[in-house]
């Protein structure tokens, strides 16, 4: 695939403070290393199920986390680890969830595709394509209802742009002027299907006016730029009753999931995108413009790897959930009963 046509590259963004870049770079690196550690654990057979990695898209989660105010929410897809890490969830708890351990982010109930960390603003990783879009609209509906000033950020893949629930959710958000921004992370492939075989249009923001959503669209290659442009959309949703639709052109360097060999794309294409990789570019900028030494960069990497090794160790040493845990959590009463020390009740037994 040729580079996307929407290279609406803006003027250089002001305020490229080296320390800030270094901080954002470290955050992106943390996500990448988390995913690599997860991939390693997967290849070692230590974790199972589906594992969808965020490698290549880190700048989006990191930018988002920068912009969130208390009460704001992120609702995303099953490719959800990056947001958890960016939003400050403990990487040990994240890794433990992949291991299905008691100490996991959701106690081993959800695994890779279902990360929830309400207190960190992560209102869920959803594994049914498009199913979360109306739910996110519902969060925004509540914000408007309660007047709490919060914004909901709903992330979806470009593959989710073709299913009914997505459009119903966007439609209602536009109709009711809800404080929400829908962010399409267009990583070019819905599993192995390229965009051109998913939809008749190549600019997904053409959907925006039909729902009266504001729109913006850019290639994610710079974390500063991404943060700045996302900030505008969020601001309009929060303050001007202007729900938005943003399309971010990005790329995942790994397959759709661990078992995907990625044969549907060429080496050249991957290499082209790697040159746009915000992480790679940030590193180059730190090394070049800001004169950061190889040792300093390596030190950051070692620190980050240290965190991930700790996370893996934590996950591996954590206990499995107690067998009784499987009976819990379906209804409020289950948890109340458990807290009171009663036997869990199962319908039908």
């Amino acid at each position: 695939m040729s580079p996307p046509s929407a290279e609406t590259s803006p003027a250089p963004v002001a305020g490229r403070d080296p320390d800030e870049l270094r901080r954002l770079y470290t955050q992106m690196l943390r996500i990448r290393r988390f995913e690599e550690a997860a991939a390693r654990a997967y290849t070692q057979g230590k974790i199972s199920g589906f594992l969808h990695l965020y490698i290549g898209q880190e700048a989006i989660a990191v930018s988002t986390a920068e912009l969130m105010k208390p009460g704001d929410r992120v609702v995303t897809t099953y490719r959800d680890h990056g947001f958890a890490v960016a939003l400050g969830c403990d990487t040990g708890a994240c890794m433990a969830e992949l291991y299905g351990k008691k100490t996991g982010l959701v106690g081993g109930n959800g695994g890779s595709m279902h990360f929830f960390a309400k207190d960190h603003g992560l209102w869920g990783g959803y594994a049914i394509v498009g199913g979360h879009v109306p739910v996110a609209a519902g969060h925004a509906f509540a914000s408007k209802y309660l007047g709490d000033g919060a914004v909901t950020l709903c992330f979806l893949g470009e593959g989710a742009m073709h299913i009914g629930a997505t459009h119903e959710g966007m439609h209602l958000a536009g109709l009711w002027r809800l404080p929400i921004v829908f962010v399409i992370e267009n990583n070019q492939y819905a599993m192995g299907t390229p965009l051109r075989r998913q939809t008749a249009v190549d600019d997904l923001t053409v959907r925006a006016p039909s729902y009266r959503l504001t729109s913006d669209r850019w290639v994610v290659r710079d974390v500063f730029e991404t943060r700045a442009r996302l900030a505008k959309a969020i601001d309009r949703a929060r303050n001007d009753e202007q729900p938005g639709l943003v399309e971010l052109l990005t790329y995942r360097f790994r397959g759709h999931s661990m078992s995907d060999p990625g044969k549907y794309r060429t080496k050249d294409e991957v290499e082209q995108w790697k040159e746009r990789d915000p992480l790679f570019r940030a590193e180059a900028e730190l090394r070049g413009q800001h004169g950061m030494s190889e040792e300093d960069l390596e030190a950051i990497d070692e620190t980050v790897w240290g965190e991930m090794d700790d996370a893996v160790r934590f996950a591996e040493q954590s206990p499995h959930p107690e067998p009784e845990h499987r009976f819990l959590g379906h209804l409020v009463e289950d948890d109340l009963a458990a807290a009171a020390g009663h036997e869990p009740v199962q319908e039908g037994n």
């Binding site: 690599e36 991939a39 390693r40 997967y42 290849t43 070692q44 057979g45 199972s48 199920g49 589906f50 661990m258 078992s259 060999p261 044969k263």
Partner: protein, 446 residues
């Protein structure tokens, strides 16, 4: 320390993989994320990027060989690092050994096949061959529904009948298809109570109580489940398994024991050895097994395995059930030694003082119920063996010798055989040899 690179799992269903192509050679420097190999999984050929950085110290896995996930395929580290130490620390010899085992397909298949371990089979249970009693008839057909065909009755009717002590078979069902229903049982109970109305005591007898001829109520005792000992459980399990899996057939022969009885009497006084008839049987069996190794054999699930050694199991009744201590290498032992060992094992067995290994590894078993006055019986083969000999009592029998009616000492032996291992003629020949030895016992001692 050098790092071991293992064959990665690249899909959720992948169990083994093949290095389709190495992209690095020994001595190459590798960065994190660098493509080092292409690996064929069950789904596709995947590119494998290194999780670690370093110099390739050794490539352990050749291209094209099938390996299990987790098999070491390469060692990364600093030049000059000790590869062997790293492999040792990793707890594996490396792929040089591993793929050799796993490589060719038939071998790879054979390896993980759970071969039933011959030694393990008899080892497992302290228990073993029981006289194959035909399933005991129920002590009392309490539920009354075992009589020809099952009686249709509602669950409630069954329960009520049980409570009243009425046999369902005695009730005519009025429900659909003759189903016995609640009202039928109640009517029967009322009729029962009314019938002995002539008897003076009847009025005070509650419904459902049975009376004897003189009108006294019969005592009703409930069934009681028995808490099983581990031995009972083991016997139940292994005998069910044997009966279900082994196609048994049975051969019975009569042995003239006149000479054997005489010999035993002589031995008793001559050498003061305590030699039982069973010891003579054990001796004969051990010798006959050497002559007929096809009987000293078992079915391992796929093929017949002939046992090299003759280890005789001797069934011994104990309080909780029975045990089978083993006289090892019985064919190489003289009568005296055999007798002493059998006796010692039996005594210690009754006192529960046998070590597990003294009750395992038998290749053929002898069960003798002669001392209980049993003439003949058949036994269940101990899984892991091909046959079992069931020995009855020596009895004074009317015999015809040379046209003259006389009295002789005769003993019946029944050999139960696994038909997968041997056929009728095989077992018959073995029995003939045994009979010959027991009828000419001196030859056996010679």
């Amino acid at each position: 320390m050098a790092k071991i690179v293992e064959l990665p799992r690249l899909s959720d269903t992948m169990e083994e993989g093949v290095i389709a192509k190495w992209h690095v050679a020994e001595g190459d420097k590798v960065k994190r994320g660098q493509l080092i190999a292409e690996i064929e999984t069950d789904k596709a050929t995947m590119e494998f990027e290194s999780f670690d950085a370093g110099v390739v110290l050794r490539l352990l896995a050749p291209e094209g060989e099938t390996m299990a996930i987790g098999t070491p395929i390469a060692v990364l580290g600093k030049p000059g690092e000790d590869v062997e130490a790293a492999l040792a620390a990793h707890g594996s010899g490396g792929a040089t050994a591993a793929p050799a085992e796993a490589a060719p397909e038939p071998a790879a298949k054979a390896a993980p096949e759970p071969a039933p371990e011959p030694a393990a089979a008899p080892t497992e249970a302290a228990a073993a061959p029981a006289p194959s009693a035909t399933p005991a008839p129920p002590a009392s057909p309490a539920e009354g529904d075992r009589a020809p065909g099952r009686i249709a009755a509602s669950p409630l009717a069954r329960r009520l009948a049980r409570e009243h002590g009425i046999e369902l078979s005695s009730i005519t069902g009025s429900g659909p298809h003759g189903r016995v229903i609640k009202t039928d049982v109640e009517a029967a109970a009322a009729g029962r109570a009314a019938a002995p109305g002539a008897a003076p005591a009847a009025a005070s007898v509650p419904a459902g109580v049975e009376l004897d001829a003189s009108g006294r109520p019969l005592l009703v005792r409930p069934d009681e489940p028995v808490k099983l000992s581990q031995m009972r459980k083991a016997i139940a399990r292994r005998m069910s398994q044997a009966n279900a899996e082994i196609p048994h057939f049975y051969l019975t022969t009569v042995v003239d024991m006149d000479r054997a009885v005489a010999l035993r009497d002589q031995l008793k006084s001559a050498i003061e050895a305590k030699v039982s008839f069973n010891d003579l049987v054990l001796m004969a069996a051990s010798r006959a097994l050497r002559v007929h190794p096809e009987v000293n054999a078992y079915w391992d699930g796929q093929t017949v395995v002939r046992r090299g050694n003759v280890h005789l199991g001797v069934a011994v009744a104990v309080d909780e059930g029975l045990i089978v201590p083993v006289v090892r290498h019985a064919d190489q032992k003289g009568l005296r030694e055999l007798a002493e060992q059998a006796r010692d094992l039996g005594l210690r067995g009754r006192d529960k003082k046998l070590a597990p290994q003294e009750m395992s590894g038998s290749t053929f078993t002898v069960s003798n119920l002669g001392m209980f006055g049993i003439d003949e019986f058949s036994a269940v083969i101990n899984p892991g063996e091909g046959a079992i000999l069931a020995v009855g009592a020596i009895a004074d029998t009317v015999v015809v010798v040379d046209g003259q009616v006389g009295v002789g000492k005769r003993m019946k032996m029944t050999l139960a055989c696994d038909h997968r291992v041997m056929d009728g003629a095989t077992g018959a020949k073995f029995l003939a040899t045994m009979r010959g030895l027991l009828e000419q016992p001196l030859a056996m001692l010679a």
